[in-house]
């Protein structure tokens, strides 16, 4: 099962009341639509969603910058709120990747095809699928772990040069920008940013230095 059988506290306490089942009211055509939507999105759709997320992110950053100009505390609050929203979205996407279709759930939970279930049972399957989407936990099997590791590796390879460009641009802005009064204060932040970037870039090698086991020696039988 893609999403763990073990439910979180939130799922047990709140999730049950959260999603109402209106299964009896749905006709075959509506169920067909529900089933179609329960299937994981195709790669093309996912890529389009990823691209459409970029302007949303730009808008969020814009809102955040406007808020911080009005009041630093309001800026902090809006940054916290928007990153929380982003975190929840990332979590929902992660769960979505590992979610099984309603047909599979029907077989798993009732041992029968989805179409063969009674309206109430279909509703229960749907209800549990929705709850798992909101409160579930993803089971990380080896394939999921490999995909995550690859995605993290790709993200790091993209971010590492971007970080170098960012630090260079930051220094250039600090030294040559129109900030006569605040230049020295900005230069302090530039130093902090530089060392944070250096730490991020050096971290994988440092972690490897710490974790890599000693090279095993050749066995005595082969040496002799």
């Amino acid at each position: 099962m893609a999403v763990n059988q073990e439910r979180s506290w939130l799922w047990k306490k709140i999730g049950f009341w959260f999603v109402p089942a209106k299964s009896e009211k749905l006709g075959p055509e509506e169920w067909a639509k529900v089933l179609k939507r329960s299937h994981p999105a195709k790669q093309r759709t996912r890529r389009l969603l990823t691209l459409s997320w970029l302007p949303v992110l730009a808008f969020e950053i814009g809102v955040n910058l406007r808020m911080v100009r009005l009041d630093p505390w309001a800026g902090l609050m809006s940054a916290a709120f928007l990153t929380l929203l982003l975190g929840l979205m990332v979590r929902a996407l992660r769960i979505g990747f590992a979610e099984v279709s309603l047909e599979d759930r029907a077989v798993m939970e009732y041992g029968a095809e989805f179409d063969a279930l009674k309206a109430k049972q279909r509703g229960e399957v749907f209800q549990r699928a929705v709850r798992d989407r909101i409160f579930g936990r993803v089971k990380i099997d080896e394939h999921e772990a490999v995909l995550r590791l690859r995605a993290q590796g790709a993200a790091y390879r993209l971010l590492a040069p971007a970080l170098v460009v960012f630090v260079t641009a930051y220094w250039a802005a600090c030294l040559f920008g129109p900030f006569e009064v605040t230049r020295s204060a900005l230069a302090v932040t530039a130093v902090v940013v530089t060392w944070l970037a250096a730490l991020v870039l050096a971290a994988p090698t440092m972690i490897r230095m710490w974790t890599q086991p000693d090279e095993p020696e050749e066995t005595a039988a082969v040496r002799e």
Partner: protein
């Protein structure tokens, strides 16, 4: 990240069809997500040794009967050849 250039071929789809076994049942039996079985069958994912042995064990076959670095010949070809040899 290192990516193997050798793709591992497998007979999981054929074995499943032969035994009328759903992806879900196999996935639950070997302890992976049902999607992983789909990716394995499509050749998009090379399993760990542990998973390969688990799958072979589930079908009651040696691991080389389920996985191979070379493409498998079709079962019909193999059966025909076996019959020809016996005759």
């Amino acid at each position: 990240m290192y990516k193997s250039t050798v793709s591992l071929h497998n007979r999981i789809a054929v074995l499943r069809a032969e035994r009328k076994l759903s992806r879900l049942t196999l996935a639950l039996s070997v302890g992976v997500n049902p999607q992983t079985i789909g990716f394995l069958e499509r050749g998009d994912y090379t399993p760990s040794l542990e998973l390969a042995f688990k799958i072979a064990e589930h079908f009651g076959l040696p691991v080389e009967a389920v996985f191979s670095p070379r493409p498998f010949r079709t079962l019909s070809e193999q059966v025909y050849e076996l019959h020809k040899r016996e005759a």
